[in-house]
């Protein structure tokens, strides 16, 4: 596609096509969008984050990432759709314009580039990073068990061959470390949203411990509103709650670490599950999935704008 208007959002794309899309979007909206490289993956691929900003200096910001588990293709595809939506709605939708007039948005579409490339080349079902573990012939770490929040506890595996292998030490995966460094350097991220699929859930901390987060009531209320907004579009039913009470115990997770850093509005989505396709959600479902998820994201972003801390 030579413009983001001719780009096909209703199909899955390769890493190269998504990276091309980013460059085209930046070229089309140089005043609004810039592309940052926050690191390089284990296999040397650039790790890009799109920054949406209308000015200011180190404004409070919202982080959204998709694709940290590479086989969850509807999340990267939704990330591409979100990027286009942001450029379309800024200046058009008053509520969203108010958000971007006061907050920056960072969007990492392909959070696990090596894994994503591998799902296109070798194994569509690949989930983890592609790092090598000395002493094991198994490859990869679960990037959502590698964060320094209850690292190595229950709900993660010490077996390199497991899909939930937590890695040798916290932040051992460059894909995770790149985000950790970015968040610490920025210092002013107020909401962090990590997007997965599939289970139709909106989750908040904690996963590694049963202790409720100090802001549980507020996070629960935001989740309720966000899920209501999402469901209002196509009737897709979502559950919400803390990770450990809603699904299972999972240690070393992304939003447990971000919440422990003081980023109060830390959430994780699990997108659509039609009960028929699992990770192989048909491409025809990308846009409706992205549309409904955007309504939930808007709810969280508006709350972040209206409740500075």
């Amino acid at each position: 596609a030579r413009t983001t208007s001719t780009f096909n959002y209703a199909t899955y794309h390769t890493l190269e096509e998504i990276y091309d899309f980013m460059d085209i979007l930046v070229a089309e909206h140089p005043q609004l969008v810039s592309k940052l490289q926050i690191g390089s993956s284990y296999e040397g691929r650039p790790i890009y984050v799109l920054k949406f900003s209308t000015g200011g200096n180190n404004r409070p910001a919202i982080w959204i990432d998709t694709g940290i588990h590479s086989r969850e293709w509807v999340t990267q595809a939704s990330g591409v759709w979100f990027a286009k939506k942001i450029t379309e709605d800024y200046g058009q939708d008053p509520a969203f314009t108010a958000i971007l007039d006061n907050l920056d948005i960072f969007l990492e579409i392909v959070t696990n580039p090596d894994g994503f490339a591998f799902t296109h080349s070798e194994n569509r079902m690949w989930r983890k990073t592609r790092s090598r573990t000395s002493g094991s012939f198994c490859v990869g770490v679960d990037p959502n068990r590698n964060w320094d929040a209850g690292f190595g506890g229950a709900g993660a595996s010490s077996n390199p061959c497991s899909e939930t292998y937590h890695g040798k030490f916290p932040n051992s995966e460059v894909e995770v470390k790149s985000i950790v460094d970015f968040v610490n350097d920025h210092g002013n991220i107020k909401a962090f949203i990590s997007i997965h699929s599939y289970s139709q859930l909106l989750l908040y901390p904690y996963g590694y411990k049963t202790e409720a987060p100090a802001d549980k009531d507020e996070l629960d209320q935001i989740s309720k509103s966000a899920v209501a907004a999402l469901t209002s579009l196509y009737g897709t039913k979502f559950q919400y709650g803390s990770i450990i009470t809603t699904i299972y115990q999972a240690s070393g997770g992304t939003i447990d670490w971000t919440y422990n850093q003081g980023i109060k509005y830390s959430f994780s989505f699990e997108l659509r599950d039609t009960g028929r396709y699992g990770f192989l959600l048909p491409a025809s479902q990308i846009i409706p999935t992205a549309q409904e998820t955007w309504l939930a994201l808007l709810t969280i972003m508006e709350h972040t704008l209206n409740h500075p801390y």
Binding site: N8, T11, Y12, H13, Y277, L280, A283
Partner: protein, 94 residues
């Protein structure tokens, strides 16, 4: 890839914690090479597992022996993968 030929994805329904634990036992049987798409969580929460063809019979016998209900969510993963690839190529062609 041809390695997913006749892999099935089973959707398992667990009614109580004992059944959840039973399915977790399956997770530990590495030789079955199971790939949990939705892991064992809690009663009432669907568990989806991709089962390689050689392990299908053993898994179904295990589930039935313990009275654990399941349906076949995906009959043949490779067919869906092929459809996905065809859809992508057709779209790129357009």
């Amino acid at each position: 890839s041809c390695s997913s030929m006749r892999h099935q994805v089973l959707r398992i329904s667990v009614d109580d914690e004992a059944q959840v634990q039973k399915v977790k036992e399956l997770e530990d049987l590495e030789h079955l090479q199971l790939d949990f798409w939705r892991g064992p969580a809690r009663p009432g929460f669907p568990i989806d597992v991709r089962v390689p063809f050689p392990s299908i019979q053993a898994v179904k016998v295990f589930l039935e022996a313990h009275g654990i209900r399941y349906t076949i969510m995906i009959e043949d993963v490779q067919l869906l993968l092929d459809e996905e690839q065809e859809q992508m190529f057709a779209s790129q062609g357009r």
